[in-house]
């Protein structure tokens, strides 16, 4: 299972992830599966500014779904709409079969963890966490029990009587998490949950967040601008830009099979070569490079007519670097080393392939003797397999 591979959490028992989330291996592949949260053609305008443009998403029970994009891409607006703080200009949001149009935030079965945490400064940690239960009229004894459970979940039991200003940033984050989980919402909305933490704490908290989600089994929708965070955390990612969703998929799909130039460029590093489709050749597509050279790559599935302008996209780690000319008639580019960075495990090159166009190449230093394969200004040859490249049409 791809997610298991992508979750290097050694604290989990073997198979813990799939055991903790029973029926949610890949519900989005099952056309009969009922989405838990459905966003149907939602648009939002602020004056003349279009924040969201006809966004449709299906999110399934138990998912940890990320909305990923740069600032101003509409991801936070979408999250606030699910919470009920913004109303769509058109379209609707359905949570667990119930249309949320006109339902105020305080009646929605979701809870939100705010980027600033929004802890009530005049209340103790206990009262912060208990607040939502009190509003629901839960009995006092029950409140005490559930708050205690929630604080135990985030390991903050000894801090119940503290005020928020007496806590560290990481502790506040966990109080916010406990407060939004204690009502057992149908979905938890997290706005940049790790954004205010420093790097080291962020990594630790990231895995803690996944552990907690596994334990409680609540659907998480996370807004983030950090692609690494999204890749590690998510079951699926929606890549957004300028109010539109460009691609929805598992991290591995988003990374290995981007469907457009935006996704390809936004997630990780991608080398793109412009060209024109020449035709089919033994189930592979031949592309004539604009700057010379032929490319051969796997057919994307949808038919691509000959003569279509396309981009051939290759990830830096999928390119082989050679000092001697390679006898290949396609997927071969020659250039000169312009920059290199030695990172220990890998060496990262930037190769000038003519006219200042740069291609990034990452070489794994599996062999100590060959760790630094090419030096500055050295002439090198880049090759890759047809299966390693992706065809992008827009």
């Amino acid at each position: 299972m791809a997610e298991t591979l992508l979750r290097p959490d050694t604290n989990l028992p073997a198979g813990g992830v799939s055991a903790a989330i029973p029926d949610v291996t890949e519900p989005w592949r099952d056309s009969a599966a009922k989405p838990f949260i459905e966003i149907r053609g939602v648009s939002k305008q602020f004056g003349t500014f279009v924040a969201l443009q006809d966004v449709s998403l299906k999110i399934y029970k138990g998912e940890l779904f990320s909305l990923l994009g740069g600032s101003g891409c509409g991801k936070t607006t979408l999250l606030r709409m699910i919470a009920g703080f913004e109303t769509p200009s058109s379209g609707s949001i359905i949570i667990d079969g119930q249309d949320m149009t006109g339902v105020p935030p305080y009646e929605r079965p979701v809870n939100m963890m705010f980027q600033s945490y929004a802890l009530f400064p005049h209340m103790s940690v206990f009262n912060n966490v208990a607040y939502g239960l009190k509003k629901d009229g839960v009995a006092r004894a029950e409140i005490a029990k559930r708050v205690d459970e929630a604080l135990a979940l985030v390991q903050l039991r000894p801090y119940a009587e503290r005020k928020p200003h007496q806590l560290s940033g990481g502790q506040r984050q966990r109080v916010a998490l406990a407060r939004s989980l204690v009502k057992r919402p149908k979905a938890l909305l997290l706005d940049e949950p790790l954004g205010a933490l420093d790097k080291k704490l962020r990594e630790a908290t990231q895995y803690e967040l996944m552990n907690i989600q596994d334990k409680v089994g609540i659907t998480f929708i996370v807004v983030t601008h950090d692609q690494e965070e999204a890749m590690t955390l998510s079951t699926r990612i929606a890549v957004m830009d300028r109010g539109q969703v460009y691609q929805v998929g598992r991290p591995i799909e988003i990374y290995e099979y981007p469907n457009c130039r935006f996704t390809a460029g936004f997630i990780g590093t991608m080398n793109m070569f412009e060209g024109v489709v020449l035709g089919l050749e033994d189930r592979l597509l031949r592309v004539k490079g604009k700057e010379g050279g032929d490319f051969l790559l796997a057919h994307p599935g949808a038919p691509v007519p000959d003569g279509t302008p396309v981009w051939v996209a290759v990830r830096p780690e999928k390119i082989r670097l050679s000092l001697t000319p390679v006898a290949a008639t396609q997927n071969m580019v020659a250039g000169k080393v312009k920059d290199l960075g030695y990172f220990g495990g890998t060496t990262s090159y930037r190769i000038d392939v003519g006219d200042g166009r740069l291609v990034s190449v990452n070489v794994t230093n599996a062999d100590r003797a060959l760790a630094l394969r090419a030096d500055w200004d050295e002439r090198v040859f880049l090759t890759w397999d047809p299966a390693s490249a992706v065809l992008l049409t827009e």
């Binding site: 703080f85 935030p105 939100m112 629901d136």
Partner: protein, 343 residues
């Protein structure tokens, strides 16, 4: 001396008795020879002491101001409060005198303070003042809070206009504004004519020279002092806290009750004090709009000074008023500081 040196931690025991070496204070405890860092520390020390003197000046200015314009006048009033009233100029006995030419005599009397208790005029005036000020403060709060909240929640442009409207009355003299109420509340005034025109009443109502008019005057005059500090504290509030409360299931009124209001309490206290304290000593408004049977302490003070020319009694009234206001405030501050410190 030897005891001092011992405790200073000299390396060699100090000889005791006559002829003991006298060691300069600052060298005690240091090995002999030139002290390290002497030269290096010099400019730093200069800057430090300069900074210190600036700090002292900055503290001295408000302190000097308080001394000159509050403590010295208060001492004079206090002195008069312990004197006897005489028909003379000044109209009170000196505290220090030479009755028989060569002995300095201190004459202090408690009579003025005692009379405050004996004559129930004073007590009634005090209580009446506290009552009027308290009720006025409550009304200022009830009227001012929604206004401050509306200003704090308005868009930037509207907010500035609204603040301007709140402050605008200050551009006309206070006395003029109180006089304007005479025209409004008079039996033939604007309000009565409007009520009759609207057929709410058939005959003119007596509004002027009643406690009602005094409340109207005080609430009107002091409302900005309530609104401004309230606005300042409400404007600072983080609106995501409201959203967080709503998200957790709080309806709009519960959000106000649980989040907005508790967090604005510093503003409520500041505004209430700014209204209550001057309202207790208010003189002009009850004098122009009120009647003689509902005397406030400001009126009593004025009468003692100017009509009776009884400066000692007037001083005692003033001191008692000050203590009655300051002591609860100090107590309140102390309790609040204690609450903040508590874990």
């Amino acid at each position: 001396m030897s005891e001092f040196l011992d405790s200073g931690g000299l390396a060699t025991p100090a000889p005791i008795g006559p002829g003991a070496a006298i060691v300069p204070e600052e060298l005690a405890g240091l090995p002999p020879g030139p002290r390290p860092n002497d030269r290096l520390r010099f400019p730093g020390n200069m800057l430090h002491s300069l900074g210190n003197s600036w700090q002292r000046i900055m503290v001295a200015v408000p302190f000097g101001w308080m001394l000159l314009f509050f403590l010295i006048p208060f001492a004079i009033v206090l002195k008069i409060g312990f004197a006897d009233s005489v028909v003379a100029r000044p109209p009170f006995t000196p505290l220090l005198s030479y009755p028989d030419g060569d002995h300095l005599a201190l004459t202090v009397t408690w009579d003025n303070f005692a009379s405050l208790w004996q004559d129930d005029l004073y007590l009634r005036a005090y209580l009446n003042s506290l009552k009027i000020a308290a009720i006025s403060t409550v009304f200022c709060l009830l009227l001012g809070y929604p206004m401050a909240l509306a200003i704090a929640r308005a868009t930037r442009q509207t907010r500035n206009i609204m603040l301007l409207v709140v402050v605008l009355p200050f551009w006309t003299p206070f006395l003029l504004r109180v006089y304007a109420w005479l025209g409004i509340l008079d039996t033939n005034g604007l309000l009565n004519r409007f009520l009759q025109w609207a057929h709410v009443t058939h005959a003119p109502l007596q509004m002027l020279y009643t406690p009602f008019a005094v409340y109207v005057g005080i609430v009107y005059s002091y409302l900005p002092f309530m609104i401004l500090p309230l606005y300042a504290s409400l404007e600072r509030l983080d609106r995501t806290l409201d959203e967080a409360a709503a998200d957790l299931g709080a309806k709009p009124f519960a959000v106000f009750r649980d989040i907005t209001f508790p967090l604005s309490i510093p503003g409520v206290i500041a505004g209430s004090l700014l209204v209550f304290i001057p309202a207790v000593g208010e003189y002009v408004i009850p004098d122009l709009l009120g009647n003689a049977s509902n005397v406030m302490i400001g009126r009593v003070l004025y009468d003692e000074f100017f009509s009776n020319r009884d400066w000692p009694t007037a001083s005692a009234v003033a001191i008692a008023l000050l203590l009655a206001l300051v002591i609860p405030m100090i107590l309140f501050q102390y309790l609040q500081a204690k609450q903040v410190d508590a874990p």
